[in-house]
C-alpha cells in the first residue's frame, strides 16, 4: 500500500509539479518552516485582536464605523507571498481584500478607515504580516 502511495505521489508530481512551485530549492530550507510555524501564532494574535475590535464596534450603541476602500502597497515579489498576504487580510475581521493588481497594489475594504494615505494605510494593514511573510516565501 505504501508502494502504491509512493507511485501515485510520483505520478502527480511529474504531471503537475511544474504548476505547484517555481523555485523548488526554497522548500528545502528549514528556516522557512520555522517562520511558517511562527506565522500561525502571529496570525492568530491579530485575528483575535481584530475580532475583539469588530465586536466592540458592533456592540457599541453609536456603531463607530467608517467603511471604505483603501489602496495599499506591498513590496512582496512572489505570487505565493502576495496570495498569502491577501488571504490573511481577508481572514482578519474588518478588512477584506477586494482586488490585487499586477504592480503590487492591494485594494482593501476596511471597516474603520483611519487614513486614506497609501503609506499610512500600508503601515497599518500590511505592516503586521509583511516582514514575516518575506522570511517565509522569499
Amino acid at each position: 500500500m505504501i508502494i502504491a502511495g509512493a507511485l501515485v505521489a510520483m505520478i502527480s508530481g511529474v504531471l503537475l509539479g511544474k504548476m505547484t512551485t517555481r523555485h523548488p530549492g526554497r522548500g528545502l530550507n528549514p528556516v522557512r518552516y520555522f517562520w511558517g510555524v511562527c506565522y500561525i501564532f502571529v496570525l492568530a494574535w491579530w485575528v483575535t485582536m481584530a475580532n475583539l475590535d469588530v465586536a466592540f464596534r458592533v456592540l457599541h450603541p453609536d456603531v463607530p464605523i467608517n467603511p471604505g476602500i483603501v489602496k495599499v502597497e506591498t513590496d512582496l515579489e512572489s505570487e505565493s507571498a502576495k496570495t498569502a498576504l491577501a488571504n490573511s487580510i481577508t481572514l482578519t475581521p474588518g478588512t477584506m481584500t477586494v482586488d490585487l493588481s499586477d504592480d503590487g497594489y492591494l485594494y482593501v475594504h476596511w471597516i474603520n478607515v483611519s487614513s486614506t494615505d497609501v503609506e499610512e494605510a500600508t503601515h497599518q494593514v500590511v505592516g503586521r504580516f509583511e516582514p514575516i511573510l518575506r522570511r517565509i516565501f522569499e
Binding site: 502511495g5 501515485v8 504531471l15 505570487e79 496570495t83
Partner: protein, 147 residues
C-alpha cells in the same frame, strides 16, 4: 480565455496536485473504503477543469492535451476489457477475479481485492479523461465562437 486573478491562480497552483492524488486514492482504494472508480474519475476530471478555469486552456493543454486525453480514455477502456479477457483465460469466466485466488486470506489489504484495484483505476482514468475532453471541447467551442 486568459484566466482569473492571480490569487485564484496561486491557490489553484497549490491545491491541484493534492486534488489529483486524492482522486487516484479514491479510485485505488475503492474496494476498502467508500469511493470507487466513478467518483475518483470525476475528481481527476475536476482537477483539470479547475486548472482550465483558472489558467485558461493553453496552460492546461500544455500539461494534458486533447490527444493524450483521447489516448488515456481508449487505453483505460482497453485495459478494462483486457482484465475481463484475462479472467476468461486464467479463471474460467469473463471477469473472473483470477488474481484474488492467488492471495487467499489477506482481507482488508490493497492486494486482497485481486483485480478490483486495477479495474477501479482503469475506470477512474477513463471517466476522468472523457469528462475532461468534454469540458475542453466546451471551452474550445466558446473560443471559436468569439473569433
Amino acid at each position: 480565455m486568459t484566466g482569473m486573478s492571480s490569487i485564484v491562480k496561486t491557490v489553484t497552483r497549490w491545491v491541484s496536485p493534492f486534488i489529483f492524488a486524492f482522486g487516484i486514492y479514491i479510485a485505488l482504494t475503492g474496494h476498502l473504503t467508500p469511493g470507487g472508480g466513478f467518483p475518483g474519475g470525476v475528481i481527476i476530471a475536476g482537477c483539470f477543469i479547475l486548472l482550465t478555469l483558472a489558467y485558461g486552456k493553453e496552460t492546461t493543454f500544455g500539461l494534458f492535451n486533447l490527444e493524450s486525453s483521447a489516448v488515456t480514455d481508449s487505453l483505460a477502456a482497453l485495459a478494462f476489457l483486457c482484465m475481463g479477457f484475462l479472467g476468461y483465460v486464467f479463471g474460467g469466466g469473463f471477469f473472473n477475479n483470477f488474481i484474488q485466488s492467488g492471495f487467499p486470506g489477506t482481507s482488508f489489504r490493497l492486494l486482497s481485492g485481486g483485480n478490483m484495484p486495477i479495474i477501479n483505476l482503469a475506470i477512474g482514468l477513463k471517466v476522468g479523461a472523457s469528462l475532461f475532453a468534454v469540458f475542453a471541447y466546451l471551452a474550445l467551442f466558446r473560443a471559436i465562437e468569439e473569433d
